[in-house]
Amino acid sequence: MVEHLTRLTTGVSGLDAILGGGFVEGASYIIQGSPGAGKTILSNQIAFSQAASGHPVLYVTLLAETHDRLFQSLSTLSYFDNTALGDKIKYVSVFQCLRDEGLDSVVKLIREETQRQSARLLVFDGLLNARDRAETELDVKTFVATIQSQAAFVGCTVLFLTSTRLQESNPEHTMVDGVLDLSDELIGERTFRRLQVRKSRGSAALSGFHQFLIDDNGVTVFPRLEAFLPVPSINAPPSSARIQTGVNGLDQLIGGGLPEGSVTILMGPPGSGKTSLSLSFFSLASASQPALYFGFFETPERLIMKASSFGLAIDPLISSGAAEIIWNPLTENIMDKLAHQLLAAVKRSGVKRLIIDGLNGFERAAVTPGRLVEFFASLTNELRALNVTTIMTWEMREIYGKAGTSPLPDISALLDNLLVVRSEKAASTTRRLFSVLKLRNSTFKPSDFELEFSASGLSISCADESGVTEPEKG
């Protein structure tokens, strides 16, 4: 029989999922990282979260910095609660005790104080300083072992904070139940904060790096999507229904619409009509088919204006709650943050029509482009399982001429449908041509169609080689 260990939740968004439900109660962990990596903000966030749930916390420091300075810097964070100080959370310094009486006295003091406070969580900030004081490695080993065993005895979870990156051979490393590594790394011109669970005894943690950010709410961790959702969160049977595209004439060409729960990539160069096609699909939002436009380029206002130029009224859909536009400018984004934000919005409103405009926005936010295939596999599998019909745009470089191959052939294999729009110069005019390259479980005519814009929306008609257009027979 598999025994499930009682967990102490962290109160840090994303971290419980990475730890497999939180810290194991009564276990001890090392949180390590260079100065500025976020150890103090993270551990205080966990401490205040425990205190807010009524669980007493003992926060022991071995640092020269005064507690008032610590409180001053924490006071800018939303989780900081002045009224918990000295009540549910007690901060004590053992610097003098260590200096005057040594490690043994510190151990004794912490034991007594843990009991006095009935602490459920003990944070020990400054393991490095304890190492300096220790005569031999044996002393530190004994110190860590004693602290953790006396805490475990009363069911108290321990977090040891240290600013050195301890090697796996370090005695501390071998003794504790888990090690969390926080780093702040420069990649190109930008820094990325990353968390890694290097050791997790008795509990499967999500492996590898997970990006996190620090803002007014403290630490938010974004579990690496493909590790977080290796398989979809629900198991849903595939649907044979069709979802209308909103483009006049297109549904008849593709068997009644896009297959429900399918993922479509819409490729095309700038100005070829990708956004307009997407807006047409978006404009069919309803209470039974809520829509989300997850974009990186135009602001919501510009999208609404653009849609109104060909007769689509988006405002009422947004007011009624049937449609939502989320805009993340193409500045410094975190790929997993985007994915979690997207999936949360999809689940929140039960989105059935989704536009991601475009895939390039995710690609730009990738620290390691090598994981894009796994990332998109996880994202698209989840969207299919949620029965969301998705259109993702992909910007190509060539403005005129035949469509090239997909810039990311590995990703194309993960998609159900592939649609291409492109511009073609014919005499003095430019035509926008539309073609279907791939369509899941459907027959389609593999020829070019012309995409036309009018005040009553977008429409598709047959285009022959001479450039003369004929209406397509349904």
């Binding site: 022991v60 020269a64 005064t66 507690h67 008032d68 409180f71 002045n82 009224t83 100080l85 000295g86 009540d87 007690k90 901060y91 004590v92 310094s93 053992v94 610097f95 003098q96 005790c97 200096r99 005057d100 003091l109 007594e112 104080e113 006095r116």
Partner: protein
């Protein structure tokens, strides 16, 4: 001269944070007082019983015995019940003020050191019976 009419008083400073304890000790030593420090309430209580100081300045949040518990222990001890106590607190001013009767002065950190010196002079100058 400012210190002419000041008595040299023995003061016990109780604070687990050594930077604050050392700083206050230097400040008061410069004023001509004799200062001894303790790192937590329990050590402080022991020191007070041994040395019988004229004044105690204590922090609130400390291991083993808080400033509040120290003040309660002193109040319960007939020999020490009249000893003046200054409480210096971080974020715990509210809890401390609920027990205002135990303290002669309550300072919130960071405090104005001239006000601290004033309070120390006043509390150490007055004979205990007149307080």
């Amino acid at each position: 001269m400012e210190s002419e009419d000041n008595e040299v008083a023995l003061i016990v400073v109780v604070d687990d944070e050594f930077l604050l304890a050392d700083y206050l000790a230097s400040l008061l030593t410069d004023e001509g007082h004799e200062v001894v420090t303790a790192a937590h309430g329990r050590a402080g209580l022991q020191l007070i019983r041994e040395r019988k100081p004229a004044l105690v300045i204590t922090d609130f949040m400390m291991p083993l015995m808080t400033g509040l518990e120290l003040a309660q222990a002193l109040a319960a001890d007939a020999e020490l019940a009249d000893l003046p106590i200054i409480l210096v607190t971080g974020g715990q001013g509210l809890i401390a003020r609920d027990h205002g009767e135990l303290f002669d002065e309550i300072f919130d950190k960071p405090y104005d050191q001239s006000l601290m010196i004033e309070a120390v002079q006043r509390l150490t100058a007055a004979p205990k019976t007149e307080r």
